[in-house]
Structure formats: C-alpha cells, structure tokens
C-alpha cells in the first residue's frame, strides 16, 4: 500500500473526510511553496498536491494560471518538483501527489533525441523520490493506456477523472481502471470557480459508487469551510487549490494556513464516527 492508500483507508475507517491541498511548486517562490506544503500538513491537510507549473495550463483558471507562470519564471521544472519531494520526505511521510500537464512529463529527462517520451523515467524517479502518484488533467481515460500500465507496474497512482457530464459507460470504464483515488470535478469549467451547487457532483459520485470502492475526492470550486462540508457528502474528501494559492500569491501565508485549519475543523465536526 502506498502512503496515499493507507491515509485514505484510515480516514474511511474513522468516517472522516480527507483534505487535499494543492500548492503550485515554486510559487510565489520555491522556499515559500515548500514551507506551505509542510505547514499545510500541520494545519490539517491529509494529502498535498504539488503543482508542476506548465506554460499553458488548459484546465486552470486565472489564479493557478498566475501561480504557474510565476513558478515557470522562477525556474521550477518537473525535476525541480522531484527535488522538493525529496526535501519534504526528510521531514514528513504525508501522501504527496503531483499535478501537472503531460507535456512537462514527456520532456522529463530529455536527452536531445527529437522523439522523446520521458513518462516512464518520470514515474521511476518520482517513486524513488517519494511521490505517490500524479494527476494529469489533460490526459483523459482514453489517452492514459500505456501510461496507466507503466504507473501500475511501479505502484504509482495515475489518477482518473469523472465529471457531472461523464456518461455512465465511461464512468464504468474509468472506475474499473481507477487507481489511488478518483478526482471528481464538481462542475463544468476550470479551477477557481466560485459559488457552486455541489448537489450535482454528489449525485454523480453516488452513481460512481456502484462501480468502484476506490476513494473519491471532489475538486474545483471549494474555497471555504462551508463549501468543503457541502462537497464532501458522498466522497472521501475535498481538493482545495485556488483559494490557498491566491493567499500565498498575495503574501498572506498565515491566512492560507488559517483557511486550511478552518476546513479541517469543519470537516471533522461534520464527519466522524
């Protein structure tokens, strides 16, 4: 079992909900992002998602676009993210998952050959560094084939997605091959949206339950304790990104941590055995 699987099964046994916190590696600067990841664990985060910054983040809203382009300017790379993982591992055994775009992974370890595919090298090195898996928002189920096989062979999670408009047939396929956890996108759109009705994704998650017992976490549009509680009804946890990243970009480190603590408290108050 990976750190992620252990953590999520322990939470489920206690009837608690997982709190996944996304932080762009390298933004607002490298040291602040590492400190934020470690402090987030102390504030109550169960899983950290380390954002690998891409120049053209198709699935992200303005906040994570801003943090990504800042992190790219700060020189953060896929290799740099693995370096951060090694640093964090000296202090913490919390589950760590990377979130990024396929092009950066294809270029990992680039050797000058015109046609190059660095995914396998990434998985091997990431596993050795202490990363538990990766989330690739521009790799839908159909494109994951060989990457899924490589990941599985290395006991490294490649996370699958479902959304409110995923058809039942695709939901069944996705769930049957899901690994680690399933990322439930709460609504149509990109990250950083506001004011959502989580009833929709809760119904979707309930529908997906008939196909799998793998943990699920809801992301997109969760910005405060209230929305965290509302989003978590049918799943194993919630993913918070833009709300934390915005505060880090604005230099409001303590506010970011206070937000995580308030979400932790609200989740534990509402969900426990």
């Amino acid at each position: 079992m990976t750190r992620l699987e252990k953590k999520l099964s322990a939470l489920r046994a206690d009837g608690r909900k997982g709190l996944f916190i996304y932080i762009t590696a390298g933004a607002p600067d490298v040291e602040t992002s590492v400190r934020a990841m470690l402090e987030a664990e102390r504030a109550g985060a169960d899983v950290i998602e380390l954002g690998i910054p891409f120049s053209d983040p198709l699935a992200d809203g303005p906040v994570i676009q801003e943090s990504s382009s800042l992190a790219v300017r700060n020189g953060m790379t896929t290799g740099g993210v693995l370096e951060l993982v090694r640093r964090i591992r000296r202090e913490s055994e919390m589950p760590l998952v990377a979130m990024g775009y396929i092009n950066n992974l294809l270029s990992y370890g680039f050797d000058g050959q015109k046609v190059y595919d660095g995914y396998e090298k990434f998985v091997v090195d990431a596993k050795a560094a202490g990363l538990d898996g990766v989330i690739l928002p521009d790799v839908p189920h159909e494109e994951a084939g060989s990457m899924r096989a490589i990941s599985r062979r290395n006991e490294f999670h490649l996370v699958e997605f479902i959304t409110p408009i995923t058809t039942v047939e695709r939901m069944r396929e996705t769930c049957s091959e899901a690994d680690g956890f399933i990322y439930c996108v709460s609504n149509t759109g990109v990250t950083g949206v506001k004011k959502l009705d989580f009833g929709v994704i809760n119904r979707v998650a309930r529908a997906a339950r008939q196909f799998t017992s793998i943990p699920m976490a809801v992301g997109f549009g969760i910005g405060d304790a209230e929305s965290a509680v509302a989003a978590a009804v049918e799943t194993d946890g919630v993913i918070v990104g833009s709300a934390v990243v915005r505060r880090l970009l604005d230099g409001k480190f303590d506010e970011a941590m206070a937000l995580i603590r308030s979400m932790r408290a609200a989740l534990d108050q509402n969900y426990h055995r």
Binding site: Y119, P137, E142, R170
Partner: protein, 395 residues
C-alpha cells in the same frame, strides 16, 4: 503514449480535460453522420459556391513566370473568397455542422483575425451568437479585423493571460468551452486541437487541392510538379496538400515563418526548425518547446503564422517525407509581399507572402516545362498598415 483513434501515425489524439470529452464524442458522432449525408454535403457546397465564391480562380501568373524565366507559375486565388481568405471554407462547414447539432452559440479563437472574421460571418449568416477570443497583442496588431468582427455582431474577448497571442486565445477558448460545453460549439480555426478537429477542418479545406487537381488537368492536362503553401497551424496547406498526398510526382512544400532569426522565440519554425513532438492544445504534434517542456512563444511578422504548434497531420507528413517543410524570414516575406504587388498587381496576405517568397529559392531549380502552384491563401488588405511600418512608411 498509445495509439488510439484520431491519429496520424503517432500524432494527434485527445489530450483534453475530461470535462470536454463528451463534447468531442458528440462532435465526432455528428461529423461521422453528416459527412456521409448528401444533404449536408450539398448544403456545404451550396454555401461555398453561392456565398463564399468557389471554385476560386486558378490564375496563370504569366508576369511572375516571366520574372523567374523557369517553371510556369499558377496562383490558387483563395484571397478572392468572401472575407478574403481560405478561412471561410472551414467556418461555413463547421457553422453548418454546429447548426445541425442544434448548438446556438459558437466560440472561436483568432490570431490575425481572419478566422475570427470568417466565424463571425458564418454566425451572422446562420443566426448564431459568436464570441471570438483574441490575444491583447493581436487585438492591437489587427484593429481592422476586430472592428469587422464587431460589425458582424460578434463579441471579441481580449485574452491577456500568457503572452496575449494566438496560443493563449486558443487556451482561453478551450477553457470557455469547458465551462459552457453543453450549448456551445467550438469553431476551431486550423487543423490543430484534439481529434476530430484536425480531420474535420482538413476535410472542409480539401476543396482547395481538389480544385487545383481539376484546374491543372483542365488547363495543362496533367498534375502540377510543385504545390506550395504557407504553414502556421497549417489549414490552407492541409487543404492544398491533402488531395496530392499519394502523388509523389507532385512535390509538396510547406513554408513556415522564419521570423527575424533562428534564435529561441524569434521564429515559428515548428517543423523546419527546432520543434519536437509534444502536446499542445489537445494534440500530440511538433511544438516549439524548451527542453523541460514549456511552450515557447512563436514569432513572425505575420500574425497568422506565429503559432508554436502545428496540425498533427503535418507532423505525420514531415516524418513520412510526404511534404517538405521549409522557412523564409520576415524580410524575405516582406520582399515577396512587395514583389507580388508590383509584378502581378496582387497584394497577398503576409501569411501567403511566405509561400510567394519561397519562389526565390525554388524557381531557379525548376525547368520551363514544369508547373508550380502556389496557394494564395488570403489577401493583404489587413496587413498594409503593418507592412508600411515594417517598410518605415508613415500612413
């Protein structure tokens, strides 16, 4: 990476967020249904003929031929189409498709503004609401086209993220599509993006090459020896080359923007320069990128060619040796722009001027009994202001 549907060799695919997958599947199913439906094809043909102005003129450029004194040069006059470029072929095809699919809104991205104008035109014709995403840099460079789009009833949304150019406008259009996927049709402007776009855009443009074939057979009784087209995303080139893909006697040459130098960020030589395969905007294809996989902003004097990616079928054509990809510099393109204006009285789009400019390199190696066809993809009115500036003239 694995081969699945919608691939040209290893290239293509659907690297998009899960949220847009159902829309791509819906589009693919609709396109499969309509492409074989006589009514849809005859509707498309009707608008191409009676609205856009097809077939376009196959012009024997005798003065240009005389200028070089080598092979005979013909120009495929896509610049004479309604709205002034080949982009209208695709815009009409996709707008008809969107209408058949019951969509009421279309969105489009645009760089030079030609595709934005073509989309706004088709939307006006078919009573659809049109929103065009355009980088703030491009809005500044192409004010005339921005005004044309607004005049046609479209909303122009400025995109300031990233570098404020075509690649960012494309990303923003995809983000908007992800948010409004149920009622909105994304009318992509080139043979790029996730499957099925590269295929369907090429299909809506392939009339260019089919007409060149018929024109050639009718005019000089055989196929041409060379066909030349400029390549940004590659839609006029795909339309020009596709019908000749299995004709090795027809040498196909795609001309990219060599920009101001071979340095990083100074050109758009995706296929003819330092690009290598990667994923941008949903497809695996050649792309200008750093060694860690960040996309490099392309540069060209022509706002329609400065795209850091290229259609996946072109990547396949490059590797398979079906098409030769070359580049000409800003200065060479500007000289071509002036040359065609002076010699033939035709002001070409700065994009098309790249194909014209390549004749300087190609013509000396040709024979008088050979034939060269250049796709003149658009007219140059939109570029005169920028050309004047580049030539140091105040207007």
């Amino acid at each position: 990476m694995i081969d699945v549907k919608g691939r040209f060799g290893a290239y293509g695919g659907q690297y998009v967020p899960e949220i847009v997958m159902p829309a791509l599947m819906e589009l693919e199913a609709a396109y499969d249904r309509f492409r074989a439906e006589p009514q849809f094809l005859s509707d498309f043909d009707f608008y191409l003929r009676n609205y856009a102005g097809r077939p376009t003129i196959f012009y024997a450029a005798d003065k240009l031929t005389k200028h070089y004194g080598r092979a005979k040069i013909f120009l495929k006059r896509e610049d004479l189409l309604h709205t002034g470029a080949h982009k209208i072929n695709n815009a009409l095809g996709q707008a008809l498709l969107a209408k058949r699919m019951g969509k009421t809104k279309i969105i489009a991205e645009t760089g030079a503004g030609q595709h934005g104008v073509a989309s706004a035109t088709a939307a006006a014709l078919f009573d659809m609401k049109c929103t065009v995403f355009m980088g703030v840099e491009d809005i500044e460079r192409q004010k005339l086209n921005v005004f044309r789009m607004k005049l046609l009833g479209a909303e122009v949304k400025p995109v300031s993220s990233g570098t404020g150019t075509l690649k960012d406008a494309t990303s923003e259009a995809i983000r908007h599509w992800a948010t409004h996927v149920t009622d909105t049709y994304y009318l992509i402007g080139s043979v790029v993006g996730p499957h099925p776009y590269p295929t369907l855009v090429r299909d809506f443009q392939k009339c260019i090459g089919e007409e060149i074939r018929a024109d050639s057979l009718g005019t000089f009784g055989r196929l041409p020896d060379y066909v030349v087209a400029c390549v940004g995303g590659g839609s006029n080139a795909a339309g020009t080359f596709y019908d000749f893909r299995d004709e090795p006697s027809v040498k196909k040459i795609g001309v990219e923007a060599g920009g101001r130098s071979d340095g990083i960020g100074d050109n758009a030589k995706t296929l003819s320069g330092t690009g290598r395969p990667g994923v941008l905007h949903g497809a695996y294809s050649y792309v200008l990128q750093t060694e860690v996989g960040q996309i490099i902003e392309a540069y060209s004097i022509s706002a329609g060619l400065d795209y850091p990616g290229v259609g996946p079928e072109h990547s396949f054509f490059k590797d398979a040796g079906v098409v030769k990809y070359v580049a000409v510099t800003d200065q060479e393109a500007l000289d071509g722009f002036k040359r065609l204006s002076r010699i033939e009285g035709i002001i070409p789009a700065m994009e098309s001027a790249h194909a014209i400019a390549y004749l300087e390199k190609l013509m000396p190696s040709t024979m008088p009994d050979e034939v060269v066809v250049v796709c003149l993809s658009g007219r140059g009115d939109k570029d005169v202001q920028m050309a004047a500036r580049a030539m140091g003239v105040e207007i």
